[in-house]
Amino acid sequence: MSNVTFTIDGREVSGRAGQTILKAAEASGIYIPRLCAYKNLVPHGSCRVCSVRVNGRIQAACVQTISDGMVVENDSAEIREFRTAILDMLFVEGNHYCMFCEKSGLCELQALAYRFGITAPQYPFLNPDRPVDLSHPDVYLDHNRCILCGRCVRVSQELDHKNVFQFVDRGYRKRLQVNGEALAATRLAVTDEVTASCPTGALMRKRVGYAVPIGQRPFDAQPIGAGNLQTEDSP
């Protein structure tokens, strides 16, 4: 496959034709923040956290393929502000209580908030009334922490070949739903890849919370994006 050369924040980067900006950047050691993107999944472009400016236009780096001479802005003040606003909205739209959440220190949403210096949201909380589905013997679904990134929908379909999750409704009414009366009525198994794929604490294995002590959790040691970029999805 032919080589493509382009720039990210002025730095020359090469990649393979057909590669996305996100993957080409990763291969060159440049971190582009993301939430809905996940290893081995077809890109989705739904969370927009990976937004970059490409030749003057805002694009999602996880779906936009690279081309010769392309000029990408990734770490500019404008893009950082844009991403911060998206993260902020994800926080206020759900009920994210990091202080007692078992995903704390392992959560990609929380880690991104730290990376972007978000200590308190700038928008008012919506405080939605959302259910917790504890019906399954080994896995639970806390809708309070769901950011509608669609990872679980796609991992279940594409990697587990089960189709346990789907989205229903549109716009601000959009929500995650299981394909059954409740999680217990689906084909979900604790060993499915989907169980470990949620970037937040929405889909969690049961009865293992807080097993990793504070100080030894993945994001206690280093911020998200500072480690091995190929392996750090969903610690």
């Binding site: 202080m99 007692f100 078992e102 917790v132 504890l134 019906s135 639970y140 049961k206 009865r207 919370g209 807080y210 097993a211 990793v212 002590p213 504070i214 100080g215 030894q216």
Partner: protein, 496 residues
Amino acid sequence: MTTTTSSARPGPTRKITIHPVTRVEGHGKVTIHLDARNTVTEARLHIVEFRGFERFILGRPYWEVPVIVQRLCGICPVSHHLAAAKAMDRIVGGEQLTPTAEKMRRLMHYGQIFQSHALHFFHLSSPDLLFGTDGTARSAFGAPPAQRNILAVAARYPDLARQGVMMRKFGQEVIRVTAGKKIHGTGAIPGGVNKNLSIAERDALLEDVPQMLEWSRRAVGIIRDFTMAHLDELRPFGSFESNHLSLVGQDDGALDLYHGVLRAVDSQGQRIVNDVDYQRYLDVVGEEVRSWSYMKFPFLKSLGPKTGWYRVGPLARLNTCAFIPSPEAEAARQDFFALTQERPNNITMCYHWARIIELLHAIEVIGGLLEDPDLQGDDLLARGPRREETVGVVEAPRGTLFHHYRVNRNDEVTLCNLIVSTTNNNEPMNRAITRVARDVLGGRPEISEGLLNHIEVAIRAYDPCLSCATHATGQMALSVCLIGPNGELLEQHARH
């Protein structure tokens, strides 16, 4: 202090606002009720806020509970963390903890007792006690308001203030290495703990133990000497005879703040609750609701609400236990009971002395635990047959703390009842301020600075966490109201 005149009612009503804050954690209001001859009929400590942890824990998975409920409090979160963890141990059938898990939890708990008692004595109470001893004040704790704060202590007794800060810091370090954070950690999980103690963590703490022990010994001396020197004044102050309740060691009745059985004695030392398994606490304790407070009034069911109320906390614990299982604190306990000829001590102001004896005990326990190689073990979790209902109890710094839960087969919490230490002490605190109001007011229907201070001193003997008992948001404050025979507000003072 500022004085304002309110026109909200006919006739002049003075409102006096006093800064700085009250050194009572939480938000409290005291009303003093007078009859036509201006005699105090009753004084009430009103708890007017509500946090509602018992409701919003419902529907959550059980393993979250020890981490969520500890957020009731920022001073003794470890108590709630451990009481909930002990309860959840039984849900997973893991109540027979591994030696490493049990000792890590005990270390965490005694670290908390040490830091909380140090905070209470040095930061909150010493300003009441230190400045009356130089002969310039009218009473043992009648120093001018400007002196009654930790900054004045730091200016006048810099060594003592520094010791208080360093002792609290040491206790918090113990919590940090066992729970992961100084405040609101995650160390105790259902059936055990999530970490052991590294050699480096152990050695760093061991280095400071001799100094902490020495300062604790000195603190016992200070409060003992203060008490003995002012005994005539302290003996009646806010005092009354009462029952006393606490956990004691299951087999020997020893002082044990982490685990044991429920024991209660009456004011003369007669056993009224005889070493009952706390899983049956509902057979022992009932809770009465009164319309004017969000805080319930617990009582021993065998005696009923009228006479069954009891005290908890350091004084109650020394009164119920047979002995203290560490040599220096046991010697201090024997000295303490020489004052009352080996009978229960019902002197409210002796809470402070009892608290400092526990401080000494806590550092002795910590020193002993740190030498134990079990803390470096790696068998951290126990499991057994599942249960659906559970009670966890610990002796928190302020007294007995009950956590009661039900968890269904889906791991969902379906019932939560918490009786916190300050709730257990609700009736005694009301009695203490009634006694103080009667003694200080003496038929004069006015709120003097002395009355305000004496009420605070009486409340502070119990070291209450008003916020944790009812669970306030907002700033701490204490207001005092005088209520006339027809329910009319005669006068109000507020401290913000």
